[in-house]
């Protein structure tokens, strides 16, 4: 991926290419990134179009970062199949791509006799789902594994392989691998309309036209909009569901080792206490229906309730400083299941409604979608020796950049982000072009001081780089 060209791609210029792509992927959320990678590795000529300045700016911006085993996914569902396949592939590629994973397992904890009554069913379903190592544990075993958990816990289901991962570095490297092997990405590029001539699509975008034999709609929170405005027909409507989180200081990290899940209800999977791979402990998410597809605001009462719930489950969280608060939006629909529809007549595949398990399932979804594509009669020769990039090592158990000489300086003191990391994130085909993008690529300002110490240095290092600058020179009025 020649840098000069990538640079011009990143600018708001017209798309230079008149090429016909085998596949255009609309949307660079985690699902679009994984699909771009899969199709590229299979030998297709791929372009990814993303309307935001940076990738992962929609639903994939904020989640719990749990790599699910699928133990509690709906029986026999496509979601289950994709989660299982995704989990499996993640294990396969994590070494070569340098992906973070902490396989500390989970406990589904029962806090009441009613919940105790549901545990057997959870184990049975897990076994049916093929997650055989799931088993019951009594309160004593739970307490000795998680001594800081409230003694109100009555018992639990142990899920040994539930894991936590880096929710941004993984999808970044998926897309990166596609780009390194010939795919193109067009950022700040919204698909607005399209025309299918029986052979191929002409997609109108904010940066010019793009031609594709097949289109895969991975527009997440806008999956229905893209289907109705470009394909001309949407079979579902997105009903965004917000999830708020509280992230506690790194001092809380060791209080809990496993992911602490509640017994789910009909409506929600409930509030989880979990470690992050960055060394924090977090509580969330809530599940709040809303109309807005962009509003990720947090609200004080909800955050206080989350803190209280965290303290109820892990009493030692009382008085623990809060590092961050955030919210994400699930691209939910009126139904629980994934809305993946191949449209054979129109060479179009909709990958929608990837509501609350997309991070785990993305690699599996990508394989499934590729099979659907093959069903269109398309064949390519898989790449024999694809380029294998390395993910940014931001997780605290990976060798971090600040540990090796020559990083220039530590810019963000709380998250120990180096100047070399910042400079890297500001260059190349996926160069950060917003503060959000830079945060996701480096973690700068995401620590306990939230930019008190490093905002100024970052303002200087990012000057003239962002579409929406963090600051301006005092000189000009």
């Amino acid at each position: 991926m020649p840098d000069a060209q990538s640079k011009s791609q990143a600018e708001n210029s017209q798309i230079p290419s008149r090429d016909l792509f085998d596949v255009v992927v609309i949307g660079a959320g985690v699902v679009g990134c994984a699909i771009a990678r899969r199709f590229t590795l299979e030998g297709a000529k791929v372009a990814v179009v993303e309307k935001a300045t940076d990738i992962l700016d929609g639903a994939s911006k904020a989640n719990s970062a749990i790599l699910h085993t699928g133990f509690d996914a709906p029986k026999g569902s496509l979601e289950l199949e994709c989660i299982r396949a995704g989990f499996h592939e993640y294990q396969e590629i994590r070494g070569e791509l340098g992906l973070a994973q902490e396989k500390n397992g989970a406990f589904v904890v029962a806090w009441s006799p009613e919940e105790m009554g549901k545990l057997d069913g959870i184990v049975a379903q897990a076994h049916e789902n093929g997650v055989e190592d799931v088993h019951l544990v009594d309160a004593k075993t739970l307490q000795s594994a998680e001594p800081n958990l409230s003694t109100q816990a009555l018992g639990a289901v142990r899920v040994p392989q539930e894991s936590i991962i880096d929710p941004w570095s993984s999808p970044y490297v998926y897309l990166r691998q596609a780009l390194d092997n010939g795919a193109k990405v067009y950022l700040s590029c919204a698909v607005t309309r399209g025309e299918f001539d029986g052979e191929s699509w002409r997609l109108e975008t904010s940066r010019g036209d793009l031609r594709a034999r097949t289109v895969v709609n991975c527009a997440g929170l806008y999956g229905d909009t893209v289907d109705s405005e470009v394909l001309g027909d949407a079979q579902f409507a997105i009903a965004p569901r917000k999830g708020q989180f509280v992230v506690f200081d790194k001092a809380a990290h060791d209080l809990v080792k496993s992911v602490i899940l509640p017994v789910p209800t009909e409506v929600t999977k409930g509030v989880v206490v979990f470690r992050t791979v960055f060394g924090n402990l977090a509580v969330g998410p809530t599940a709040e229906e809303q109309d807005s597809r962009t509003d990720t605001s947090t609200d004080q009462d909800t955050l206080k309730a989350l803190i209280a719930e965290g303290i109820a489950k892990v009493p030692a969280l009382a008085g623990m400083p809060v590092t961050a608060t955030y919210a994400g939006l699930r691209p939910a629909t009126d139904r629980k299941e994934y809305r993946i529809f191949p449209n054979l007549e129109k060479n179009w595949i909709t990958v929608g409604g990837i509501r609350s398990t997309g991070l785990s399932a993305s690699l599996g979804i990508a394989r499934h979608v590729y099979r659907l594509y093959e069903g269109f009669g398309r064949r390519h020769d898989a790449l024999e020796a694809p380029e294998v990039p390395k993910a940014a090592a931001l997780a605290h158990l990976l060798p971090r950049d600040w540990m090796s000489a020559g990083h220039g300086e530590i810019v963000c003191h709380c998250e120990l982000v180096t100047r070399r990391e910042i400079e890297r994130a500001l260059s190349g085909p996926l160069a950060a072009r917003s503060m959000g993008g830079l945060k996701r690529q480096t973690r700068a300002t995401m620590g306990r001081c939230q930019g008190f110490y490093c905002s100024a240095r970052l303002a200087e290092l990012t000057a003239e780089k962002f579409e929406q600058p963090v600051s301006e020179g005092i000189g000009h009025d």
Binding site: V247, D249, K250, A251, T294, D295, T296, S297, T298, D299, Q300, L303, K304, G319, P321, V322, T323, A324, T325, Y326, A327, W402, M403, S404, A405, G406, H407, G408, E409, I410, H413, C414, L416, M435, R448, C449, Q450, G451, F452, Y453, S455, A456, R457, A459, E460, A463, Q468, V470, S471, E472, G473, I474, G475, D477
Partner: protein, 419 residues
């Protein structure tokens, strides 16, 4: 410089984490008392601490007998330390502290483990960010603390917005105002949740303050905006919510010690000060470590922090030469009264109570008029009239308490308080 000091085989007598006024003062004092190798580890490009970006007077009266701006003051502190033979390692971050004075250190040259006979922990305070204040609303660009604004304006010649709302009215809010002025930023309002301004504003500065309206009894309810700040939703004395159009929010004050190393390490942290638990010499739960300056508690001036640092230098020199009394069997000082923010030191070593800090420092959380009371074993052992307000210094002589209690816990509270 970077490699030389860390790789030198000479034993480090005292390593100082943080080269602000307190750390540098301690370093100079140690050198003046003949301590051989004193190494200051500072993670910024330059030592000097917070005053480096407080480009306004008054700094330096106590230290240099003249009125200086923050940056000039910081430069003088550094020059004085260098002249005294203190080694200052900049761009060097202490990433972990371990028992017995072992420190993990990261610099552009990589990571090192160093070991010192004593460690002085002097990492200062910062302001609470938006997240820790649990502020509702859109999480958009344009919400900064005073410290970040000052560094942006004074160290980098940049500004993040042009019409912000200033939240808070501690003295630092005035610094925010001055900084805005300097950068051509025009604050649209200053809001204070309390019934009146927190700080005793210097009357000479009031005219300048008057150009921005101060709304007391007014709380920030939420921040609005799509990509950057568009309005601050506030609730006034009448409980009505209204919007103030603005393009930024400056969150001032609500200081908290930068005590990450203690929290994530082996040193006890006081939930009240949010700094390390110390005795009257500033000795931490691991007696090889001494804390000083604003890390001890929020918040004092540079001059006070500097003076504390100098004292700490003296005590550590004494500890190295003769040994301070053993910390075993100390009195515990606590407070659970919500009207009292903290009491520091949290332990008093009784075998030699006269040494060290001399006073217990406290702050109230709201306006108080009543009695400050010390209780031990359910009996009142000391009482004194108290009229105070938030962010006003309160000091109680350690000797007064120690003469009345010999062991166990002393708990401070407020009695008959009308707030």
């Amino acid at each position: 410089m970077i490699d030389r000091a860390l790789d030198s085989p000479l034993p480090i007598d005292v390593a100082i984490i943080g080269g602000g006024p307190a750390g540098l003062a301690a370093a100079v004092e140690l050198k003046s008392r003949g301590v051989k190798r004193v190494l200051v580890l500072e993670r910024e490009e330059q030592a000097g601490g917070i005053p480096r970006h407080c480009n306004h007077p008054p700094f330096g009266m106590r230290e240099f007998r003249r009125v200086l701006t923050g940056p000039k003051y910081a430069a003088r502190l550094v020059a004085r330390a260098q002249k005294a033979g203190v080694e200052i390692q900049t761009l060097t971050t202490v990433t972990d502290v371990y028992p017995g004075g072992e420190l993990a250190v990261a610099s552009p040259a990589g990571t090192h483990l160093i070991s010192a006979r004593r460690v002085i922990y002097a990492t200062g305070v910062r302001e609470a960010p938006r997240s820790a204040r649990l502020i509702s609303g859109a999480r958009v660009q344009g919400v900064v603390n005073t410290g970040a604004l000052q560094s942006m304006v004074y160290l980098k010649g940049r500004r993040p917005f042009s019409r912000p709302v200033i939240v808070g009215s501690e003295l630092v809010a005035f610094s925010a105002l001055m900084t805005c002025r300097h950068a051509g930023i025009r604050p649209v309002a200053m809001i204070e949740a309390g019934p009146s301004a927190t700080a005793r504003w210097p009357s000479s500065l009031l005219p300048r303050l008057r150009q921005v309206q101060l709304h007391t009894a007014t709380r920030l309810v939420a921040i609005k905006g799509a990509r950057s700040v568009e309005a601050a939703v506030v609730s006034g004395p009448d409980g009505q919510e209204r919007e103030i159009a603005c393009d930024g929010v400056i969150l001032t004050g609500e200081f908290t010690p930068e005590a990450a190393l203690a929290r994530c390490g082996h040193l006890d942290v006081d939930p009240a000060t949010c700094g390390p638990v110390v005795d009257q010499w500033g000795r931490c739960s691991d007696p090889v470590y001494f804390a000083t300056g604003n890390l001890l508690r929020p918040v004092e001036t540079a001059g006070r922090s500097w003076a504390e640092g100098r004292k700490t230098g003296e005590w550590v020199a004494r500890d190295l030469a003769d040994g301070l009394p053993q910390p075993a069997g100390s009195l515990r000082i606590t407070t659970r009264d919500p009207l009292l923010k903290y009491a520091m030191p949290q332990r008093i070593c009784k075998s030699q109570p006269a040494g060290g800090m001399g006073e217990i420092q406290m702050r109230v959380t709201a306006r108080v008029s009543g009695n400050l009371v010390a209780r031990s074993e359910n009996a009142t052992v000391w009482r004194q009239a108290l009229n105070s307000r938030p962010e006003r210094r309160i000091e109680v002589a350690i000797a007064d308490i120690v003469s009345r209690v010999s062991e166990g816990t002393v708990e401070f509270s407020i009695e008959e308080a009308a707030t």
